[in-house]
Structure formats: C-alpha cells, structure tokens
C-alpha cells in the first residue's frame, strides 16, 4: 500500500500535462451542457407557462445541470479504453510481471480522476450557490459532501461495470463501441440527459432495480437536498447489490481471460 500515494501523485500530474486543453475542455464541456440544457428547459417552461414541472422549477433544473456534467465525469473517471487499449497493444503484460495488484492499480488510477473531478464539482457547486444565494448553510454543505460521497461510491460501481466490459477485449479485438454504448445507457437511464422524474412512472419503477438511477440521479438530487435518508439507504442497497454481482463477473472474466491473453514484451 505504500505505493498508492505515488500512483495518485503520478496520475494527478498526468491529468495536468496538457493544461490548456484540460481547462478549455473542462470549462467548455461543463458550461456548454449547462447552456444547452437551460435553453431547452426555458423553452419548455415558457411554452407551458408554468413555474414547476414534476417537482422541478427552472432554477432547480439549472442547478441539476450544473451538477450533472461534472458528476458524470466523476463516474467515468479515466477515459474509456483504459484496459482494452493495453490488452490490445500487449502492454498489459506488465501487470502480470510487476509485484503489485493489477486490480488495485487500476482502481487507484481510475479513482484519482474521480477525486479530481469531485474537487472540481465542489468548486463549481459552491461558486454557483454563492453567486446565486450569496452563501451556503450548514445543511447545504452537508448535502454537498453527502452527494460527493455518493458520486464517489457510484464511480466504483461504474468502474466495475467498465471493467466487466473492457475485459471482454481479452476475447474480442475491439470493444470501444461497447464502452460508448455503456455511456449512452448510463447518461440516459441515469438521468444525465433528463431528470428521471420526467420519465413515465412505470419506467421509473423498473429503473429503480437497476444501478443506473443511483449513478447520477441519486447523488445529484442529494446534493440539491431533494432526497430522504430512506431513499439514499435504498439506493446504496441497490448499488451494493450490483457491485457484488459485478465484482463476481469481473473476477470470473479476469480468471478466464488471463488464459486467453497473449502479448510480447511490455
């Protein structure tokens, strides 16, 4: 475990190598998604001439879309292809030789990205609250940290889903399209495109048994103070259940996949 801080430090430095590109992309992505979503919902509210739809006012939706783009990035951590690329190129061999756990190393690198984005989300959220309300109450700070904590827990579940998909590259040559599919699913069914409260009731019930609503919607609404303790507890139970299932699948794929792997050099 004494190598953990070195990995985290190295990953932080890697994130910031291309600083201009990193900050332009980060600010651009966050602001563009916010502007587009706000423009869309403003048009809907004006058309309907109402102040609230399905429990959301326009300022609440704006805050939701401040949180969601960065929250989605906390989930996805390091970019897609973080395992499959190495398997495809054969550089995966090093994890079979180095005296450290492949699983721990990958979790740590992934989680470093998530932590970095979590920090950015905190800054964005606090900045937005101060800009809008001139400050934050203790209750709001509590929700902020609870929401961030849920995002980080969700990111570990998402990591397991990603691993289960990426390890398929031990059998198939190219699986990046599967990762893109996963992102489409998690964004839409997780509530990143539209809050799940706007989905038909039947769809909401079905989704509540899947991990998706707990990946984005639950942490985002918790940060906004819209969830009860019971809802958070239920969400954690569902996500915990899926994490166990996924961990078993990842372990099975890893055990079987190693036998299929071939690579030359490191």
């Amino acid at each position: 475990m004494n190598w953990w801080p070195h990995v985290v430090s190295l990953e932080f430095r890697k994130i910031l190598v291309f600083r201009t590109e990193f900050w332009v992309t980060f600010l651009g992505q966050s602001l563009v998604q916010l502007v587009i979503a706000r423009s869309l919902w403003t048009a809907i509210f004006e058309q309907q001439n109402v102040s609230e739809i399905n429990g959301f006012t326009l300022p609440m939706l704006t805050l939701y879309y401040v949180i969601v783009p960065i929250g989605s990035r906390i989930l996805t951590g390091e970019n897609l292809g973080f395992l499959s690329r190495e398997i495809y190129e054969g550089t995966f061999t090093r994890y079979l030789l180095y005296p450290l756990s492949w699983f721990q190393y990958k979790t740590l690198t992934y989680f470093t990205y998530s932590l970095f984005y979590a920090f950015q989300l905190m800054i964005f959220f606090v900045g937005y609250k101060f800009y809008l309300n001139g400050g934050m109450s203790l209750f709001e700070f509590g929700n902020l940290f609870l929401g961030i904590g849920l995002f980080l827990i969700s990111s570990l579940t998402y990591l397991l889903i990603s691993m289960a998909v990426e390890l398929l590259s031990l059998w198939a040559d190219n699986i990046w399209s599967l990762m893109v599919m996963l992102r489409f699913f998690s964004n839409f069914l997780g509530g990143a495109l539209i809050p799940l409260a706007f989905f038909p009731k039947e769809a909401q019930v079905i989704l509540s048994y899947t991990p998706f609503p707990n990946l984005i919607s639950l942490p985002a609404r918790t940060m906004m103070g819209l969830t009860s303790g019971q809802e958070i507890f239920q969400g954690l139970l569902v996500i915990g259940f899926w994490a166990v299932i996924l961990a078993l699948i990842v372990n099975l794929l890893w055990q079987r996949g190693q036998k299929k792997y071939t690579g030359v050099g490191i």
Binding site: G28, V32, S39, T42, Q48, P69, L178, L193
Partner: protein, 262 residues
Amino acid sequence: MRRYIRLYLYFLRFSFSKAMEFRLDFFFRFVMDCIYYVVNILFFKVIYLHTPVLAGWREDEIMIFVGTYILIDAINMTVFSTNLWWLPWLINKGDLDYYLIRPVRPLFFLSLREFSANSFMNLLIAGGFFIFSLSQYQGTYSVGDLFLFTILIINGSLLFYCIQTLTILPVFWTQSTRGFVDLFYTLGLAMERPHRIYKGIYKVLFTTLLPFALIASFPVKVFIDGPDLMTILHISAVTAAFFCLLNFVWTKGLKNYSSASS
C-alpha cells in the same frame, strides 16, 4: 477530378474488405449507433410527454429534426470520423510524412481514405428513420422542397466535418493526443436541439461562431417553413467561411509540423 473519384473507389473497396475482417467489431459498432438513435428518439418522446410544442415544432416535426441530425451524424461517421480519429496520432508520431509526399491533396487523403463500412449499415438505418419521419409529417411539401432539403443536409454534413476537423487541428501546436475533440462532442449537443431554444448571445454563438444549429436545425426550418433567402444565404456564407478557415488552419498547422522523417 476523375483521378480522385477513382482513388475514392479504391478506398471503398479496401475499407469493406477490412471491415469484414473484424466481424464482432462490425456488429458492436452497428448496435452502438442503433442505441444512439434510440436514445435520441426517446429523449424527445419523454420531452413531449410534458409539452405539446417545443421551440415552435410539434412532435412529428421534431422527429424530422431528429431524423435529420442522426442522418448527418451517420454520414459523418461513415465518411469522415474514422479518418479524423487517427489524425492526432499521425501528427504526433510524425507519420503525416507519408501523406505529405503523395501526389494527392493531403487533407483529401487523410479525411477520406477510410470509409467506415460498419457505420454504413447505420447510415441505412438513419436514412430509413429519416424517411419514416417524413412519412409521418402532417404538413405538405413538394419535390422541390425535398431537393433543397437534401442539398442542405449535404451542406450540414460538410459543415459538421469542418468544425470537427478544426477542433482536432490544434494538436499541431499542443501535441496532445486528442485536441479539443471531446469539447466538439459536447458542443455537438447543440446540433441535437432545435435552434429556436437559443436566445440572445447563445443564438449568435450557435448560429454563427460555433454554427452547430446550422447543421440540422436550419435545414429543417427551411423544409417546414418554406425556402427563405436570408436563411439559405446565412447557411451558405457560414459554411464557406468555415471551409476557408479549415484550409487556412491546416496550412498554418503544416508549417508548424515537424518530424525526424518517418
């Protein structure tokens, strides 16, 4: 010109035989694009559960809009995207040399050499949905309207290609692996929303400076509201400006390019 057409036919033949080698990837990419289409259709279906009209368009009209932008996306995925994906690597590794010494315009070669055969299947599906959405349209239109619409869709694809390439070319200066292509994909969301939702500064932004709204939304506006000279002039002028800008940045980028020979 004939030489370029013949060359492109060779690209097509090579791309199809290459795609058939990776059949599982072929299947995955096909399913991926289908899911993208379904998610986009469902997105507007959910929105229309809460409003009968969005930005002046009814549900049958918005479905034409969805059909248009997924068709443009499919055209670009099939014709350009795979090529553009590799561009940063070629620049950073110095492999651009191979393309600069050939007796063909490098940007033509680099943009079109790989026709994405797997996405071609999706182009057929996107085209099918586009035709279906037109069949559900409650308004009337003439053959002339359809012809103009087709021209504007092709123009939209060209504009999409210009903007995408312009977000990649900064790698000539930054030497990074992706340029601003992630930002491009996020900005692409602006293409997937009707232009009338943008007001004030955002309207100027998305119709002129970052003209994503011109790619699909304006062609649909011309189709539904009828031809309007100012709108068509606007689309043509912005596309021409972006095409010139692309060639300018490409030339400047090449001057900045260096490699220790391949």
